[in-house]
Amino acid sequence: MSSFVTITFAYYEPMNTSNLVSTESRRGSITSVGMGITLGSHLTPIARNYIETADVVFAALSDHVVELWLERLNPEVRSLQPYYRPGKSRMKTYREWVEVMMTEVRAGKRVCAVFYGHPGIFAWSPHKVIEVARAEGYEAYMEPGISAEDCLYADLGIDPARFGCQHLEASQLLFFERNLDTTGHVILWQLGVVGDRSLGRFKTPDAYRELLVERLCQDYPPDHEVIVYRAPTLPIEGPHIQRVALGDFVSAEYTGHETLVIPPVQALKPNAVWRARLDALDAIHGSGFEPAVTA
Protein backbone atom coordinates (compact mmCIF):
# COMPACT_ATOMS: atom_id res chain seq x y z
CA MET A 1 0.00 0.00 0.00
CA SER A 2 1.33 3.42 -0.83
CA SER A 3 2.37 5.51 2.15
CA PHE A 4 1.02 8.56 0.38
CA VAL A 5 -2.36 9.55 1.68
CA THR A 6 -4.72 11.94 0.03
CA ILE A 7 -6.87 14.27 2.05
CA THR A 8 -10.50 14.14 1.10
CA PHE A 9 -13.19 16.55 2.12
CA ALA A 10 -16.28 14.47 2.69
CA TYR A 11 -19.50 16.39 2.39
CA TYR A 12 -22.33 15.25 4.57
CA GLU A 13 -25.84 16.40 3.81
CA PRO A 14 -27.94 16.04 6.95
CA MET A 15 -31.60 15.10 6.68
CA ASN A 16 -33.79 18.16 6.96
CA THR A 17 -35.61 17.70 10.23
CA SER A 18 -36.68 21.29 10.76
CA ASN A 19 -40.31 20.41 9.99
CA LEU A 20 -40.27 17.98 12.92
CA VAL A 21 -39.69 20.81 15.39
CA SER A 22 -42.74 22.34 16.98
CA THR A 23 -43.74 25.65 15.45
CA GLU A 24 -45.10 27.06 18.69
CA SER A 25 -43.49 30.31 19.80
CA ARG A 26 -39.93 29.65 20.90
CA ARG A 27 -38.63 30.43 24.34
CA GLY A 28 -34.98 30.83 25.04
CA SER A 29 -32.94 27.74 25.79
CA ILE A 30 -29.36 26.81 26.46
CA THR A 31 -27.28 23.70 25.90
CA SER A 32 -23.73 23.25 27.14
CA VAL A 33 -21.71 21.08 24.80
CA GLY A 34 -18.14 19.84 24.66
CA MET A 35 -15.88 20.43 21.68
CA GLY A 36 -13.73 17.46 22.63
CA ILE A 37 -9.98 17.87 22.81
CA THR A 38 -8.60 17.23 19.31
CA LEU A 39 -9.80 19.45 16.46
CA GLY A 40 -11.83 17.51 13.92
CA SER A 41 -11.66 14.21 15.79
CA HIS A 42 -13.85 14.51 18.85
CA LEU A 43 -16.89 16.70 18.20
CA THR A 44 -20.00 14.53 18.58
CA PRO A 45 -22.81 14.72 15.98
CA ILE A 46 -25.31 16.08 18.50
CA ALA A 47 -22.91 18.73 19.81
CA ARG A 48 -22.18 19.79 16.25
CA ASN A 49 -25.88 20.11 15.54
CA TYR A 50 -26.47 22.23 18.65
CA ILE A 51 -23.66 24.51 17.51
CA GLU A 52 -24.82 24.77 13.90
CA THR A 53 -28.45 25.49 14.78
CA ALA A 54 -27.91 27.92 17.66
CA ASP A 55 -28.79 31.60 17.42
CA VAL A 56 -25.79 32.46 19.57
CA VAL A 57 -22.71 30.39 20.43
CA PHE A 58 -20.52 31.22 23.42
CA ALA A 59 -17.02 29.77 23.33
CA ALA A 60 -14.62 28.93 26.13
CA LEU A 61 -11.87 27.05 24.33
CA SER A 62 -8.26 26.53 25.31
CA ASP A 63 -6.91 26.64 21.75
CA HIS A 64 -7.43 29.61 19.45
CA VAL A 65 -7.33 27.43 16.31
CA VAL A 66 -10.25 25.40 17.66
CA GLU A 67 -12.18 28.64 18.13
CA LEU A 68 -11.47 29.55 14.48
CA TRP A 69 -12.93 26.17 13.54
CA LEU A 70 -15.97 26.82 15.69
CA GLU A 71 -16.56 30.06 13.79
CA ARG A 72 -16.81 28.00 10.60
CA LEU A 73 -19.60 25.95 12.15
CA ASN A 74 -21.57 29.01 13.22
CA PRO A 75 -20.53 32.60 12.55
CA GLU A 76 -22.42 33.85 15.61
CA VAL A 77 -19.60 32.87 17.99
CA ARG A 78 -18.89 35.08 20.98
CA SER A 79 -15.62 34.28 22.69
CA LEU A 80 -15.62 34.26 26.47
CA GLN A 81 -11.84 34.75 26.59
CA PRO A 82 -11.93 38.58 26.88
CA TYR A 83 -13.57 38.27 30.30
CA TYR A 84 -10.34 36.87 31.77
CA ARG A 85 -7.90 39.38 33.23
CA PRO A 86 -4.76 38.81 35.32
CA GLY A 87 -5.47 39.73 38.91
CA LYS A 88 -9.24 39.40 38.47
CA SER A 89 -10.79 36.48 40.32
CA ARG A 90 -11.76 33.80 37.85
CA MET A 91 -14.95 33.23 39.84
CA LYS A 92 -15.97 36.77 38.90
CA THR A 93 -15.23 35.92 35.27
CA TYR A 94 -17.28 32.72 35.47
CA ARG A 95 -20.25 34.55 37.00
CA GLU A 96 -20.06 37.10 34.19
CA TRP A 97 -20.12 34.25 31.68
CA VAL A 98 -23.30 32.90 33.23
CA GLU A 99 -24.90 36.33 33.16
CA VAL A 100 -24.00 37.11 29.55
CA MET A 101 -25.31 33.71 28.44
CA MET A 102 -28.53 34.08 30.42
CA THR A 103 -29.12 37.53 28.89
CA GLU A 104 -29.43 35.84 25.49
CA VAL A 105 -31.60 33.02 26.86
CA ARG A 106 -33.95 35.56 28.43
CA ALA A 107 -34.09 37.37 25.07
CA GLY A 108 -35.58 34.20 23.56
CA LYS A 109 -32.42 32.97 21.85
CA ARG A 110 -31.41 29.36 21.32
CA VAL A 111 -28.00 29.48 23.00
CA CYS A 112 -25.14 26.99 22.79
CA ALA A 113 -22.27 27.20 25.28
CA VAL A 114 -19.19 25.45 23.93
CA PHE A 115 -16.38 24.36 26.21
CA TYR A 116 -13.32 22.34 25.32
CA GLY A 117 -13.33 18.70 26.35
CA HIS A 118 -16.42 17.78 28.36
CA PRO A 119 -18.49 20.80 29.42
CA GLY A 120 -19.20 19.37 32.84
CA ILE A 121 -15.65 18.49 33.89
CA PHE A 122 -13.52 21.13 35.59
CA ALA A 123 -15.88 23.80 34.42
CA TRP A 124 -18.08 25.84 36.75
CA SER A 125 -20.16 27.94 34.35
CA PRO A 126 -21.79 25.20 32.25
CA HIS A 127 -23.31 23.60 35.35
CA LYS A 128 -24.30 26.95 36.84
CA VAL A 129 -25.95 28.34 33.72
CA ILE A 130 -28.08 25.20 33.41
CA GLU A 131 -29.10 25.49 37.06
CA VAL A 132 -30.02 29.18 36.63
CA ALA A 133 -31.86 28.63 33.34
CA ARG A 134 -33.94 25.77 34.73
CA ALA A 135 -34.77 27.77 37.87
CA GLU A 136 -36.15 30.49 35.58
CA GLY A 137 -38.20 27.97 33.58
CA TYR A 138 -36.04 27.67 30.47
CA GLU A 139 -35.00 24.45 28.78
CA ALA A 140 -31.37 23.70 29.56
CA TYR A 141 -29.26 20.63 28.86
CA MET A 142 -25.70 19.40 28.85
CA GLU A 143 -24.25 17.13 26.19
CA PRO A 144 -21.09 15.22 27.12
CA GLY A 145 -17.89 15.61 25.20
CA ILE A 146 -14.61 13.74 24.96
CA SER A 147 -12.51 14.98 27.85
CA ALA A 148 -8.78 15.10 28.55
CA GLU A 149 -9.44 12.25 30.98
CA ASP A 150 -10.80 10.12 28.14
CA CYS A 151 -7.73 10.87 26.02
CA LEU A 152 -5.47 10.02 28.94
CA TYR A 153 -6.92 6.52 29.33
CA ALA A 154 -6.48 5.87 25.60
CA ASP A 155 -2.98 7.30 25.26
CA LEU A 156 -1.53 5.84 28.45
CA GLY A 157 -3.32 2.49 28.31
CA ILE A 158 -4.88 2.89 31.74
CA ASP A 159 -8.19 1.23 32.54
CA PRO A 160 -9.56 3.01 35.62
CA ALA A 161 -11.48 -0.12 36.57
CA ARG A 162 -8.36 -2.22 37.15
CA PHE A 163 -6.93 -0.63 40.29
CA GLY A 164 -9.29 2.30 40.67
CA CYS A 165 -8.55 5.88 39.82
CA GLN A 166 -8.64 8.88 42.12
CA HIS A 167 -8.97 12.26 40.42
CA LEU A 168 -8.21 15.42 42.32
CA GLU A 169 -7.69 19.03 41.57
CA ALA A 170 -4.04 19.38 42.65
CA SER A 171 -4.66 22.31 44.99
CA GLN A 172 -6.91 20.20 47.20
CA LEU A 173 -3.83 18.35 48.44
CA LEU A 174 -2.47 21.64 49.78
CA PHE A 175 -5.75 23.16 50.95
CA PHE A 176 -7.29 20.13 52.65
CA GLU A 177 -6.40 16.95 54.47
CA ARG A 178 -7.00 14.51 51.64
CA ASN A 179 -6.21 10.80 51.76
CA LEU A 180 -4.58 9.33 48.66
CA ASP A 181 -5.27 5.74 47.67
CA THR A 182 -1.79 4.64 46.66
CA THR A 183 -3.04 1.21 45.52
CA GLY A 184 -4.77 2.83 42.53
CA HIS A 185 -3.91 5.55 40.04
CA VAL A 186 -3.95 9.09 41.36
CA ILE A 187 -4.48 11.79 38.74
CA LEU A 188 -3.95 15.46 39.56
CA TRP A 189 -5.45 18.27 37.47
CA GLN A 190 -5.03 22.04 37.18
CA LEU A 191 -1.33 21.88 37.96
CA GLY A 192 -0.70 25.26 36.36
CA VAL A 193 -2.51 27.11 39.11
CA VAL A 194 -1.74 24.74 41.98
CA GLY A 195 -1.77 26.48 45.33
CA ASP A 196 -3.34 29.70 44.04
CA ARG A 197 -5.92 30.92 46.53
CA SER A 198 -6.53 34.28 44.88
CA LEU A 199 -8.09 32.86 41.70
CA GLY A 200 -6.37 35.77 39.99
CA ARG A 201 -3.27 34.00 38.72
CA PHE A 202 -3.04 32.00 35.50
CA LYS A 203 0.13 30.22 36.52
CA THR A 204 1.79 29.85 39.86
CA PRO A 205 5.61 29.77 40.20
CA ASP A 206 7.47 26.45 40.25
CA ALA A 207 7.88 26.74 44.02
CA TYR A 208 4.17 25.89 44.36
CA ARG A 209 4.66 22.67 42.40
CA GLU A 210 7.71 21.91 44.56
CA LEU A 211 5.42 22.18 47.58
CA LEU A 212 3.00 19.77 45.90
CA VAL A 213 5.84 17.29 45.39
CA GLU A 214 6.75 17.64 49.07
CA ARG A 215 3.15 16.76 49.96
CA LEU A 216 3.09 13.80 47.56
CA CYS A 217 6.33 12.48 49.05
CA GLN A 218 4.37 11.88 52.26
CA ASP A 219 2.67 9.03 50.35
CA TYR A 220 5.18 8.08 47.65
CA PRO A 221 8.95 7.64 47.46
CA PRO A 222 10.65 10.46 45.50
CA ASP A 223 11.96 7.96 42.93
CA HIS A 224 8.44 6.69 42.12
CA GLU A 225 7.87 7.09 38.39
CA VAL A 226 5.07 9.46 37.47
CA ILE A 227 3.72 10.58 34.09
CA VAL A 228 3.31 14.16 32.92
CA TYR A 229 0.59 14.07 30.27
CA ARG A 230 -0.95 16.50 27.82
CA ALA A 231 -3.55 15.58 25.19
CA PRO A 232 -3.13 17.03 21.68
CA THR A 233 -5.50 19.79 20.59
CA LEU A 234 -4.36 19.76 16.95
CA PRO A 235 -4.70 16.55 14.91
CA ILE A 236 -1.16 16.91 13.56
CA GLU A 237 0.26 16.46 17.06
CA GLY A 238 0.62 13.43 19.28
CA PRO A 239 0.14 13.33 23.04
CA HIS A 240 2.85 14.66 25.33
CA ILE A 241 3.92 11.81 27.61
CA GLN A 242 6.90 12.32 29.89
CA ARG A 243 7.91 9.79 32.54
CA VAL A 244 9.94 11.23 35.40
CA ALA A 245 10.69 10.44 39.02
CA LEU A 246 8.23 12.18 41.33
CA GLY A 247 11.10 14.14 42.87
CA ASP A 248 12.01 15.50 39.41
CA PHE A 249 8.47 16.47 38.43
CA VAL A 250 9.08 20.21 38.70
CA SER A 251 11.96 20.05 36.22
CA ALA A 252 9.84 18.22 33.61
CA GLU A 253 8.81 20.02 30.43
CA TYR A 254 5.79 21.98 31.46
CA THR A 255 3.45 24.43 29.67
CA GLY A 256 0.76 24.71 32.31
CA HIS A 257 -1.72 22.41 30.55
CA GLU A 258 -0.34 19.11 31.81
CA THR A 259 -1.84 16.51 34.10
CA LEU A 260 0.12 14.42 36.59
CA VAL A 261 -0.55 10.69 36.61
CA ILE A 262 0.76 8.74 39.60
CA PRO A 263 0.68 4.95 39.14
CA PRO A 264 0.00 2.67 42.11
CA VAL A 265 2.91 2.22 44.49
CA GLN A 266 1.37 -0.53 46.62
CA ALA A 267 -0.30 -3.81 45.68
CA LEU A 268 -3.98 -4.36 46.42
CA LYS A 269 -4.37 -6.12 49.78
CA PRO A 270 -7.06 -8.83 50.03
CA ASN A 271 -9.74 -8.03 52.61
CA ALA A 272 -10.19 -11.20 54.67
CA VAL A 273 -13.14 -9.87 56.68
CA TRP A 274 -15.39 -9.03 53.75
CA ARG A 275 -14.30 -12.11 51.79
CA ALA A 276 -15.48 -14.21 54.74
CA ARG A 277 -18.82 -12.39 54.61
CA LEU A 278 -19.04 -13.19 50.89
CA ASP A 279 -18.31 -16.84 51.69
CA ALA A 280 -21.29 -16.84 54.06
CA LEU A 281 -23.58 -15.39 51.37
CA ASP A 282 -22.27 -17.85 48.78
CA ALA A 283 -23.12 -20.70 51.18
CA ILE A 284 -26.75 -19.56 51.08
CA HIS A 285 -27.14 -18.34 47.50
CA GLY A 286 -24.52 -20.41 45.67
CA SER A 287 -21.11 -19.22 44.60
CA GLY A 288 -21.80 -18.93 40.87
CA PHE A 289 -18.82 -21.15 40.07
CA GLU A 290 -19.32 -23.87 37.49
CA PRO A 291 -19.63 -27.26 39.31
CA ALA A 292 -16.44 -29.29 39.19
CA VAL A 293 -16.65 -32.31 36.86
CA THR A 294 -15.88 -35.54 38.71
CA ALA A 295 -14.26 -38.41 36.90
Binding site: G40, V65, D196, S198
Partner: protein, 78 residues
Protein backbone atom coordinates in the same frame (compact mmCIF):
# COMPACT_ATOMS: atom_id res chain seq x y z
CA UNK B 1 -2.98 27.74 -0.66
CA UNK B 2 -5.34 25.48 1.24
CA UNK B 3 -7.34 26.87 4.15
CA UNK B 4 -5.52 25.78 7.32
CA UNK B 5 -8.54 25.34 9.58
CA UNK B 6 -10.40 23.33 6.93
CA UNK B 7 -7.30 21.19 6.43
CA UNK B 8 -6.89 20.52 10.14
CA UNK B 9 -10.53 19.47 10.42
CA UNK B 10 -10.07 17.10 7.48
CA UNK B 11 -6.97 15.56 9.10
CA UNK B 12 -8.77 15.27 12.44
CA UNK B 13 -11.46 13.06 10.97
CA UNK B 14 -9.24 11.05 8.64
CA UNK B 15 -8.26 7.68 10.11
CA UNK B 16 -5.25 7.42 7.79
CA UNK B 17 -3.84 10.80 8.64
CA UNK B 18 -4.66 11.23 12.32
CA UNK B 19 -1.93 8.78 13.32
CA UNK B 20 0.30 9.17 10.27
CA UNK B 21 4.04 9.64 10.68
CA UNK B 22 5.34 13.21 10.34
CA UNK B 23 6.89 12.25 6.99
CA UNK B 24 3.61 10.93 5.55
CA UNK B 25 1.72 13.88 6.96
CA UNK B 26 4.24 16.35 5.51
CA UNK B 27 3.92 14.79 2.03
CA UNK B 28 0.12 14.88 2.23
CA UNK B 29 0.17 18.52 3.33
CA UNK B 30 2.57 19.54 0.57
CA UNK B 31 0.32 17.84 -1.98
CA UNK B 32 -2.68 19.82 -0.74
CA UNK B 33 -0.77 23.12 -0.74
CA UNK B 34 -0.88 23.63 2.99
CA UNK B 35 0.33 26.95 4.36
CA UNK B 36 4.05 27.42 5.18
CA UNK B 37 3.18 27.75 8.87
CA UNK B 38 1.35 24.43 8.97
CA UNK B 39 4.17 22.73 7.08
CA UNK B 40 6.72 24.11 9.52
CA UNK B 41 4.72 22.95 12.51
CA UNK B 42 4.52 19.41 11.14
CA UNK B 43 8.16 19.31 10.00
CA UNK B 44 9.87 21.03 12.94
CA UNK B 45 7.27 21.27 15.68
CA UNK B 46 7.59 25.05 15.51
CA UNK B 47 4.23 26.85 15.72
CA UNK B 48 5.57 30.41 15.42
CA UNK B 49 4.76 30.86 11.73
CA UNK B 50 1.31 29.28 12.07
CA UNK B 51 0.56 31.52 15.03
CA UNK B 52 1.38 34.56 12.91
CA UNK B 53 -0.55 33.28 9.89
CA UNK B 54 -3.74 32.72 11.86
CA UNK B 55 -3.33 35.71 14.15
CA UNK B 56 -3.80 33.58 17.20
CA UNK B 57 -2.88 34.48 20.74
CA UNK B 58 -2.50 32.98 24.18
CA UNK B 59 -5.57 31.33 25.68
CA UNK B 60 -6.54 30.72 29.24
CA UNK B 61 -7.86 27.23 29.83
CA UNK B 62 -8.98 27.09 33.44
CA UNK B 63 -12.77 27.03 33.67
CA UNK B 64 -12.99 25.99 37.27
CA UNK B 65 -12.12 27.63 40.55
CA UNK B 66 -9.69 25.95 42.89
CA UNK B 67 -11.91 24.16 45.36
CA UNK B 68 -11.24 25.77 48.69
CA UNK B 69 -9.85 29.00 47.28
CA UNK B 70 -11.07 32.19 48.86
CA UNK B 71 -14.41 32.53 47.10
CA UNK B 72 -15.93 29.15 47.88
CA UNK B 73 -14.30 28.22 51.18
CA UNK B 74 -17.47 28.88 53.16
CA UNK B 75 -19.74 26.77 50.98
CA UNK B 76 -17.41 23.80 51.30
CA UNK B 77 -16.69 23.84 54.97
CA UNK B 78 -20.16 24.62 56.31
Amino acid sequence: MRDTVELLEAIGRDANLRRASPEVLARALEATHASPGLLELVAKGNSTALTTELGIGERFGEHHSQTGAHEDEASLLN
